[in-house]
Symmetry: C2
Subunit: 261 residues, 2 copies
């Protein structure tokens, strides 16, 4: 609605050197002059509001992005017009690489809530990377990490049990939150059930039911978008498909004890 308040402007100008994500992001391991040259490439952006788009399908590659606050989702659109969520990008995570192969974006990037990103014009980045071996190495590494997240997603999607997918999804989020210094056992989901469903290839109802079941089993506590991971071992078990059965039997038994008949 109104212009960014002064504080925002200050943060907007904040350099990579001062950024709390520095060690997780592209600048990791880059120092001195090299870091300053990288900073010249990085454009900091005005805050994004929920639903704001950074790029759309078919847009020519201009920049790649790093989330710096909030969460961005990337969404692919099938010919039938169905959307599926390719990834959720937390602070420090690079995205927008999908355009590198063809030169055009294959998906679109949308802010899930108030968010902020750093934009890196790709051509400039490539030029500077060619000049700075440390940056080239780091760029490749960060690109690789981005592929690793895609791989993890793939891993999740090959699981047949909905409960496994949900458990793995939560585990993954948990780890990623810890990585950025936030509690991994208690957090607010930045995305809706619908978005989780379209990320995991499930129906919304199935997502909801899986959450409920994990809750009943005492593995997690959920209330709306608030999640608390109570039993890490239990979540691991659920993620690998085994022992969940035993757990459930236990719960059912407890239930029967409470209300015989």
């Amino acid at each position: 609605m109104n212009d960014p308040i002064p504080l925002d402007l200050v943060r907007l100008r904040r350099s990579c050197a001062e950024c709390s994500l520095q060690q997780l992001c592209l600048p990791a391991g880059i120092e001195g002059d090299d870091l300053r040259r990288l900073e010249d490439v990085v454009q900091r952006r005005r805050p994004l509001e929920a639903g704001d788009r950074l790029f759309r399908v078919g847009d020519a590659l201009q920049s790649v992005f790093v989330a710096s606050e909030g969460t961005i989702k990337t969404v692919g659109i099938s010919e039938a017009g169905e959307e599926h969520v390719l990834g959720f990008h937390l602070p420090g995570e690079l995205f927008g690489l999908d355009a590198i192969g063809t030169g055009y974006h294959r998906c679109e990037a949308i802010a899930l809530g108030k968010a902020r990103v750093c934009e890196l014009p790709f051509n400039e980045l490539a030029v500077v990377a060619a000049q700075l071996p440390s940056l080239q190495r780091q760029l490749l590494r960060v690109m690789g990490q981005s592929s690793d997240r895609d791989q993890d997603h793939l891993d999740v999607l090959t699981r047949r049990q909905a409960s496994e997918r949900i458990a793995l999804f939560l585990q993954g989020l948990s780890q990623r939150y810890r990585r950025i210094g936030q509690p991994g056992d208690e957090f607010q989901l930045p995305m809706s059930r619908e978005e989780i469903a379209r990320h995991l290839g499930l129906a919304v109802e199935t997502v909801s039911r899986s959450f409920s079941r994990l809750h009943e089993e005492g593995v997690i506590a959920v209330r709306g978008r608030w999640v608390h991971i109570i039993d890490v071992a239990g979540l691991n078990a659920a993620a690998s498909g085994c022992e969940v059965e035993a757990k459930r039997v236990e719960v059912v038994r407890a239930e029967k004890a409470r209300s015989p008949r």
Copy 2:
């Protein structure tokens, strides 16, 4: 069993400049001296036999690879010990990038039959790429294409209907065969049903049944690993989930007409 015959040795030595895949592979758009410098990095390999492994989970990143003849599969292994097939790599396709993020391979690469690959020691490649902007650009592009294939795979896995997954899988293979100058409408599958199943997140039986159904519908002809795509439009329809219904109804009707009662 016995040593490679002389012909093989000749092919082994063949340079990128003489390679039929040149325009599809890393050297595309690289010429003269630059090409010679790239060739210095590329190591050509002895032929691989079915089941030969190029790297295993946990191996440190040494090289990335390009298939040059035959097909290589990459296989990820879940904690539970289940294998799932991450990708099939046809001639001209780069793989082994999975180690770039962490420095260690997350999957293993196995030849599906007699095959041949070009090996590119990653560090050398990175050094040369830093010196040759054309190679750096091309390397990024080829890496992007590799991600694009992963993305396509992901696309396939989010489809709920088994028939859609199979149809998309066949479409994808068809395109990729055409790309390397082989007929896209008639080919031998280099992989088993089991491997297809583990690639698509389905049971073997489901894969088999889906093939059979597409066959009955007259969309494709299958006999063992031999596949002939008869009705491209039909395959497209099956891939996007719609109209298959109509097709099937038709077939059922025809069936009834043939054997009333």
